[in-house]
């Protein structure tokens, strides 16, 4: 029996970085895409406005893709945790 489970450790570090830093980074990309200028509302945002939506159609699509990937990843993660946390009774 070893005192430290290295497999668990590297999994926590790697998946921790992917989920804990990667997903928020994807969210940031989504925000950036969302704010791409263009379309009818291009000129409305001033220098210190907190308006997020730039109105660029491509940006909107990219943003939607980012946000959907995040939601899917969270859903998949929760499902995995449930699966691992409720082991099927041994046969």
């Amino acid at each position: 029996m070893s005192w430290i489970n290295l497999t668990a450790l590297w999994k926590i570090v790697v998946f921790g970085l992917i989920a804990g830093a990667g997903l928020p980074a994807l969210f940031a990309f989504g925000l950036k895409a969302l704010s791409m200028p263009g379309g009818a509302r291009a000129q409305t945002a001033g220098g210190d406005s907190d308006q997020l939506i730039g109105g660029n159609p491509l940006g909107m699509v990219l943003a939607a893709i980012c946000f959907l990937i995040i939601l899917a990843a969270i859903g998949w993660g929760i499902y995995e945790v449930y699966q691992i946390g409720h082991p099927a009774p041994a046969k």
Binding site: M1, S2, W3, I4, N5, A8, L9, K11, I12, V13, F15, G16, L17, A19, G20, A21, L23, P24, A25, F27, A28, F29, L31, K32, L34, S35, A45, G47, D48, S49, D50, Q51, L52, I74, G77, I78, E80, V81, Y82, I84, G85, H86
Partner: protein, 402 residues
């Protein structure tokens, strides 16, 4: 159904006088354990919600309500940690109900004391320390499964804040870099929305790890009493009552700890808040599924420090961090001492009466601490006041008499 079945088991034992004493103790132990779960909830609301409250992403009372509900859901999500506590730390053959009661006394006392001083110490370590201290006093060193203790509790305690800080620092750096084309106001607005999601994930993760600890202890008590066989899983009524206790505690909200975490450590902007919460949620959920009973408090603190390190020019208040780290080192041994003392007292007086005396003393201590806390109240009104170096904000007018 299980609930009814265990009730009928309990009732059938009432005919046997020896069993009556045991059953009475069992009921007291379960109630005390749920009490611990409640303090666990309000001690830890801050881990999930402190940064969202500090950046005003969520209104304080909405935040605690949301967190309460998600803790409830999280408690059902994974049972791996409950199994670690119930059968991985102490030898279930040598543990008695008195030991569990004494251990709980140790855990609750330490939890309340640290809450009074606004120190986000680990509820988990308080509980585990209490149980181990009581086990040592009752049965000696061979009753403690040292390997399980070190590999599933002590090492994760040391490593998890470091991993969380690393993840949060990386996240913070990426978020600021990616979003630098946005205006400050737009960035702050966007990440405040993101923070709602990440804070919810932390609450969910908290349920998968912390609610499990009380489930584990109650299961341990049921095994000690012979109601369950060794290695048994937590019965459904245990899962449900623990989930309810922790979510109620979370809803009541530990405003003191929220304040220290949200205002005391680092001045937090919304991208940092989101990075910290995402890092905490990811590390806790991953560890839960491996059965590591880590401290959500240590992880949240590590994450918050990480966001301070990941942003240029951010200031980490290392003296506050140092005060916390000191409390962490002392948590296991202090709770163990109280647990051992309670066990010795209960043993000296004799079984049923001893446990009752222990629990009465515990209730008295809790009352005194609560009364002391009224003098410098922290609640949803002043939780975000400017940090002046202590948990309770300085008051402009004399406090109303409690």
């Amino acid at each position: 159904m299980n609930c009814l079945r265990s009730l009928s088991t309990v009732l059938s034992r009432l005919e046997d006088p020896d069993r009556v004493g045991n059953t009475a103790i069992l009921v007291l132990v379960v109630i005390t354990a749920l009490g611990f779960d409640f303090t666990n909830g309000f001690h830890d609301t801050g881990n999930a919600m402190a940064t969202s409250i500090a950046t005003k992403a969520l209104e304080p009372r909405v935040a605690v309500a949301l967190s309460g509900v998600l803790n409830l859901v999280g408690a059902f999500l994974s049972l791996a940690v409950a199994a670690t506590i119930a059968s991985g730390l102490v030898s279930t053959k040598l543990v008695t109900l008195t030991v569990v009661a004494a251990g709980l006394a140790g855990g609750i006392t330490w939890n309340l004391l640290t809450w009074l001083f606004g120190i986000p110490s680990s509820s988990s370590h308080a509980l585990i320390g209490g149980v181990i201290g009581a086990t040592l006093a009752a049965a000696g060193g061979h009753a403690v499964l040292w390997h399980g203790l070190v590999s599933k509790v002590v090492l994760p305690a040391v490593l998890s804040p470091i991993i969380a800080a690393l993840v949060a620092a990386t996240g913070t750096y990426l978020l600021y870099r990616i979003s630098r084309s946005l205006t400050d106001a737009a960035r702050s607005h966007g990440f405040r929305i993101g923070q709602i999601g990440s804070a919810c994930m932390v609450s969910l993760a908290h349920g998968t790890n912390d609610a499990q600890k009380t489930m584990g202890v109650i299961t341990l008590a049921l095994i000690a009493n012979g109601t369950l066989h060794a290695k048994a899983n937590a019965p459904f009524w245990v899962i449900l009552s623990c989930a309810l206790a922790i979510s109620l505690g979370t809803y009541i909200g530990g405003w003191r700890v929220i304040r220290t975490l949200g205002k005391g450590l680092v001045e937090i902007e919304s991208p940092q808040g989101m990075a910290a919460e995402s890092a905490s949620a990811a590390v806790i959920l991953l560890s839960s599924s491996f059965g590591y009973s880590l401290s959500t408090t240590h992880v949240a603190t590590g994450s918050i420090i990480g966001t301070g390190l990941g942003k240029k020019g951010a200031e980490v208040r290392w003296n506050v961090a140092g005060r916390m780290a000191t409390a962490w080192v002392f948590t296991l041994p202090s709770a163990a001492l109280v647990g051992a003392g309670a066990e010795a007292l209960a043993h000296a007086i004799g079984s049923t009466t001893g446990v009752v005396v222990d629990l009465i003393i515990l209730a008295a201590v809790a009352g005194v601490i609560y009364w002391r806390s009224r003098g410098s109240k922290v609640d949803h009104n002043n939780v975000n006041d400017e940090w002046t170096g202590s948990a309770a904000p300085s008051e402009p007018e004399p406090a109303a008499a409690a």
